[in-house]
């Protein structure tokens, strides 16, 4: 199979439920024996198409592990993960790579662009890996909307942090993935650039009907989402709809206190 992965039975069930991605009873443990650490425990949640979900929690609560399990970067110790109708937890590495290529977009805190490739080449990297021709109109659309159309021939070190993150957002959008996974996308940016990046991510959801899952510590960033999942010790302890910065901040403070 070289192109899109076909949905399997569990995946079809997820698709029918309207979820772009779904975790069911997912647990993840690192290490063995006495040194074993449980990062996720029996997490079940879905991410509906065209929604923006923020994942928050104290340090070590399992936010990044949840995102990595969802994106197929980490295999769960138990439970099932489906992405765009494909159950991915048991796939061999080669097929998993193809699923990530076609169904997941990534935005990282440190941008993670390849220094030797231009902005455009970085953006089109998933297409090149898939051996697919880019849709010129779509590329023009997303580079225009993110405001980097005039910087496409530049190498990453010739771009500001905000511009680099816009390139990373374009790279995440270029394959029209089932879900975009963003890990602290504003963590390395100043306030103004951070706000611009969050506005772009929001637009991706509203304009392009993308599904976005974002890990963040920042209540302001979380306020751009449709809902916030709060994690403590590897479990979802609370879900907050229509978040606003101060309520998110208060809840986070309370959770941190509880953990202490």
């Amino acid at each position: 199979m070289t192109g899109q992965e076909e949905p399997n039975e569990d995946g079809r069930a997820a698709a029918e439920s309207g979820a772009a991605a779904e975790l069911r009873n997912v647990s993840r443990t690192y290490g063995e024996g006495a040194a074993a650490v449980s990062a996720l425990e029996e997490v079940t949640t879905g991410f509906r198409k065209g929604t923006f979900t923020a994942v928050m929690g104290p340090s070590g609560s399992g936010k990044t592990t949840l995102l990595q399990c969802l994106a197929g970067l980490v295999r769960p110790s138990s439970g099932a993960v489906s992405l765009g109708g494909v159950q991915i937890d048991g796939l061999p590495e080669k097929r998993l790579a193809r699923v990530r290529r076609s169904r997941v977009g990534f935005v990282f805190q440190e941008f993670n662009l390849i220094p030797a490739l231009t902005a455009l080449e970085n953006m089109l990297l998933p297409m090149r890996l898939a051996g697919r021709r880019p849709d010129r109109e779509w590329v023009a659309e997303i580079t225009g909307r993110t405001g980097i159309a005039h910087r496409l021939s530049h190498l990453p070190h010739e771009l500001s942090g905000g511009q680099q993150q816009r390139v990373a957002i374009c790279r995440a959008l270029v394959t029209r993935p089932a879900v975009i996974c963003a890990d602290e996308p504003t963590g390395a940016l100043d306030g103004s650039s951070g706000r611009e990046v969050m506005a772009l991510l929001r637009e991706a959801v509203d304009v392009y009907r993308q599904t976005l899952v974002m890990v963040t510590h920042d209540p302001v960033a979380a306020s751009y989402s449709d809902r916030v999942l709060f994690l403590v010790d590897g479990r979802i302890v609370e879900t907050m709809g229509r978040p606003v910065p101060h309520t998110v901040a208060e809840r986070m403070t309370a959770l941190v206190e509880e953990v202490r």
Binding site: L73, V74, A97, F106, N112, A116
Partner: protein, 854 residues
């Protein structure tokens, strides 16, 4: 992926600079050795002596019978067949010493009737007419300061005789550059050469007009082959004679050293360098992959399959190799020339050797380097695929290594080193199976390289842990941080330092191997002697010039001498009648044979002997080594066909004795010269003398050997000491020097990699500086890091050398210690450490300046 690889190389060449340097150095070495090998194999000796002969057959002393010469003369197209004797002969100076360059420039005695093969023409005087008359070429006469009518002393086969110089000749084409000629009457030449039965050493053919030299040469070869039914070739395939015409005739003059062994050593070095280059380039590529862990993690995250990551690594290495091959081939051409010129300057290669830049050598070097690059990239791809994207992108360790895996690596490394030593020991003792004889050195070097690769990281880690308390006390900031850094990043440091261990071990092994080989060789010879005096002549062009029967006879007749035995070593073979020569079904392999003249039983120590060794000396039978006889299924009193190099027919003899000391069948035959009626006689390699009373053998030897000339007499202890030194000088050490160079290059390449890794630490150094560590302390820290990396790697290489030396010495620690090249390795280590310190400090300063500029 090739497109991405190209962009990475074009836009971020720095990330792969270390690997590029390694590929360049590797290609340069490969190209240099390939050029040297190609030059050696293309170099032919110039035709001087046989310039006027259209076709020449030449071989070992006395290989051609008078019948063979007659048959050659009867071949279609042949006008005349001229038999030729060519034996070492020296004109001594007025002071009794031979000319200064007598070991470098050949000096041969001939019969006057063969002067026309050059031709030599009389400049003055006349041809020799009496047994005490000699004709010299003009150069020899000038060296001796003699003119026509003067008396000159000539040494032949250990005996110095006075001759009257009756003529001076010169080659028609002008003075010969690489040999001198002395002409005696034919009868006198035959007496001196003592080949027996009117045999000759070469046949020169003058052809009728229009005859095809190639066709005649082929016909002659066929005819001569059929006349050698009792002959055996050496195990390496050197035949008893060769036939040639045109440019091939130069080699047949045997005036210049045979460098085929050097060409083989060079071919082996190409393989060793290729092995090493895989390790070195692989290490550099892995370092590059680790420093780009985030890029590889990202590629994996955004959907690169394992196959695509592998392809990227292979493509990067391929493109890098292309650039490295271009740069390395050019430097290799220069290095090849320097190598040859250097070797020629110190006299280890033939003076006629000239550098030859053929496309073949460069093609071999280039293709090997590309293949090596791809093999190294395979290891780099494995490292890239072990990167866990989730952990790297979350800022955790790039490549976790489990404790169990480390232990397995350590144990495997130690086992591989042990296996290399055992293989080398078996090889030195001649106990490896026949199929491995040509390759055991290469296999052992491969095992050492991989073994050290597996142990290197552990050695650095262990050293850092062991010295950490002491270093923290001695240098609380710089030392403490250095020990912690090296301990934590030991795998990264090992990637650059392991080549130091490998280079030290390979160079040390090569340098220890030469004296140990010479010692083993000499001990093999000496342990069979139960004599009071050993007479011999020096080794010139890999062979003793030889002692004649008159020397032995005079010794045997000397008062107080119990026995005098002449010994000659050659390749031989014994098998039951009808089973054929070597290679026949059930026939044993060729072995070293000792041909004796005199009462061999008295002066040869062959271990336990069953049967009657005295009958061997009397020519009534043959003695076989116990192991050889067992392998061949031969028992005492059985009849065997004995074949020896150059024999016309096999000799059927009864086995009259079996002896114990035969090196596992490798030195399996002792037979008397008298018994071999259809074989050429030759001069003795050694004459052993036994005495009736202490001191009489030495007195007799002193009386028989002239104080002038080159022959010497020693007691067995002196003999061993002097002979080891002489063997060491005689062994063609081109390969040893080149191997030591490989070691040196590896150390330089490694130092370069260490300096580059220091340059890659900009952010780490900047963060240490931010917490208040001064630039000076940082420099000290880096210096300690280099010491903690280079010294353990060097020690590991030194220990591996010691192990290989002990194995080569067969467990004789005294001999291993004697051969251990401690001073050279110490210099190696000191130079490596100094270069690493300078390189790393310069790179650190540059990294700090760049960090400050940010």
């Amino acid at each position: 992926m090739i497109g991405i690889a190209w962009r990475i190389l074009r836009r971020s060449p720095g990330t792969l600079f270390g690997a590029f340097i390694m590929i360049t150095v590797g290609t340069a070495l490969l190209a240099a050795f390939a050029i040297v090998q190609d030059s050696i194999s293309r170099t032919t000796a110039p035709v001087e002596r046989y310039a006027a002969a259209d076709v020449v057959a030449s071989g070992q002393a006395g290989v051609f019978t008078p019948e063979a010469v007659e048959e050659a003369g009867g071949l279609p197209g042949v006008a005349e067949a001229v038999p030729e004797l060519s034996f070492p002969a020296l004109v001594l100076g007025a002071d009794g010493h031979p000319p200064a360059d007598w070991e470098d420039t050949a000096r041969f005695g001939h019969g006057w009737s063969s002067a026309g093969l050059t031709p030599f023409l009389l400049l003055e005087g006349r041809a020799p007419d009496a047994s005490d008359e000699v004709v010299l070429d003009a150069e020899s006469a000038a060296e001796a300061g003699a003119g026509v009518g003067d008396r000159v002393d000539v040494e032949v086969a250990g005996t110095v005789r006075g001759h009257r110089l009756v003529g001076v000749v010169e080659a028609e084409a002008g003075p010969t550059e690489y040999q001198r000629a002395l002409f005696f009457t034919d009868r006198r030449a035959a007496e001196l050469a003592a080949r027996g039965g009117g045999r000759s050493d070469a046949i020169g053919l003058h052809l009728e007009p229009g005859a095809d030299p190639g066709a005649v040469a082929a016909a002659l070869d066929e005819r001569l082959r059929s006349a050698l039914a009792g002959d055996v070739d050496s195990p390496s395939g050197v035949p008893a004679y060769r036939v040639g015409s045109g440019a091939e005739r130069g080699e047949l003059e045997q005036a210049l050293p045979d460098h085929r062994a050097s060409a083989q050593a060079m071919a082996m070095l190409i393989w060793i360098v290729a092995f090493m280059a895989v390790a070195v380039i692989g290490g550099a590529l892995i370092t590059s992959v680790r420093s780009r862990a985030e890029q590889f993690a990202l590629l994996r995250a955004v959907g690169a399959t394992p196959g695509q990551v592998r392809l990227l690594c292979l493509a990067e290495a391929f493109l890098l190799s292309l650039a490295g091959v271009a740069a390395g081939a050019l430097s290799g051409m220069l290095l090849g020339r320097l190598l040859l010129e250097g070797f020629r300057a110190i006299g280890v290669v033939s003076p006629v050797l000239r550098v030859h830049y053929g496309p073949g050598a460069l093609l071999i070097a280039g293709v090997t380097a590309l293949v090596v690059g791809q093999a190294a990239a395979w290891f780099a791809a494995r490292a890239a695929l072990r990167i866990r994207p989730a952990e790297v992108l979350a800022g955790q360790a790039a490549v976790p290594v489990t404790r169990g895996r480390r232990r397995v690596g350590r144990i495997t490394g130690a086992l591989l080193l042990a296996a290399a030593g055992i293989l080398q020991a078996l090889g030195m003792a001649g106990l490896v199976p026949a199929v491995l004889r040509g390759a055991y050195g290469m296999i052992a070097s491969g095992l050492v390289i991989v073994g050290l690769g597996l142990l290197g990281s552990w050695a650095i880690h262990a050293a850092a842990r062991a010295v950490r308390p002491l270093l923290s006390w001695a240098a609380p900031v710089a030392g403490h941080l250095a020990a912690a850094n090296v301990g934590f990043h030991h795998r990264r440091y090992a990637g650059a330092a392991v080549p130091i261990a490998v280079g030290t071990a390979i160079a040390g092994w090569a340098l220890a191997g030469l004296p140990l080989f010479a010692l083993g060789n000499s001990q093999d010879v000496a342990e069979r002697f139960a004599a009071d005096q050993v007479l011999r002549t020096p080794i010139v062009r890999d062979a003793h010039t030889g002692l004649g029967e008159p020397v032995r006879e005079r010794l045997e007749e000397a008062p107080g001498v119990s026995a005098a035995v002449g010994l000659r070593e050659l390749w031989a073979h014994a098998a039951p009648p009808g089973s054929g020569g070597p290679g026949g079904s059930g026939a044993p392999e060729v072995t070293r044979g000792t041909v004796v003249t005199g009462r061999a039983g008295a002066l040869l120590d062959l271990g336990e002997v069953t049967g009657d060794l005295a009958s061997v000396g009397a020519g009534r039978g043959v003695a076989l080594g116990a192991a050889y006889a067992r392998q061949a299924g031969i028992g005492l009193h059985d009849e065997v066909e004995v074949r020896t190099a150059g024999a016309s027919r096999p000799t059927v003899l009864p086995v009259v004795a079996l002896f114990e000391r035969d090196k596992g069948g490798g030195e399996g035959i002792v037979v008397a010269s008298e018994a071999l009626r259809d074989a050429p006689r030759g001069w003795y390699d050694y004459v052993l003398v036994g005495e009736e009373k202490e001191g009489r053998a030495a007195e007799a030897a002193a009386a028989v050997l002239s104080a002038r000339g080159t022959a010497s007499a020693e007691d067995p202890e002196e003999f061993l000491r002097a002979y080891v030194q002489e063997r060491q000088g005689a062994i063609d050490n081109l390969g040893t020097l080149a191997t030591a160079m490989v070691g040196g290059f590896l150390v330089i390449a490694s130092v370069n990699a260490l300096a580059l890794s220091a340059a890659d630490r900009r952010s780490e150094l900047a963060s240490i500086r931010r917490i208040g560590v001064t630039g000076r302390r940082l420099s000290r820290m880096v210096s300690w890091e280099m010491a903690l990396t280079v010294v353990p790697a060097w020690l590991l290489g030194g220990l591996a050398t010691a192990w290989m030396a002990a194995a080569m010495a067969g467990g004789d620690l005294g001999a291993a210690l004697w051969a251990y090249p401690g001073a050279v390795l110490l210099g190696f280590g000191a130079a490596g450490l100094a270069a690493a310190l300078l390189g790393a400090l310069a790179a650190t300063r540059s990294a700090l300046r760049a960090a400050d500029a940010r």
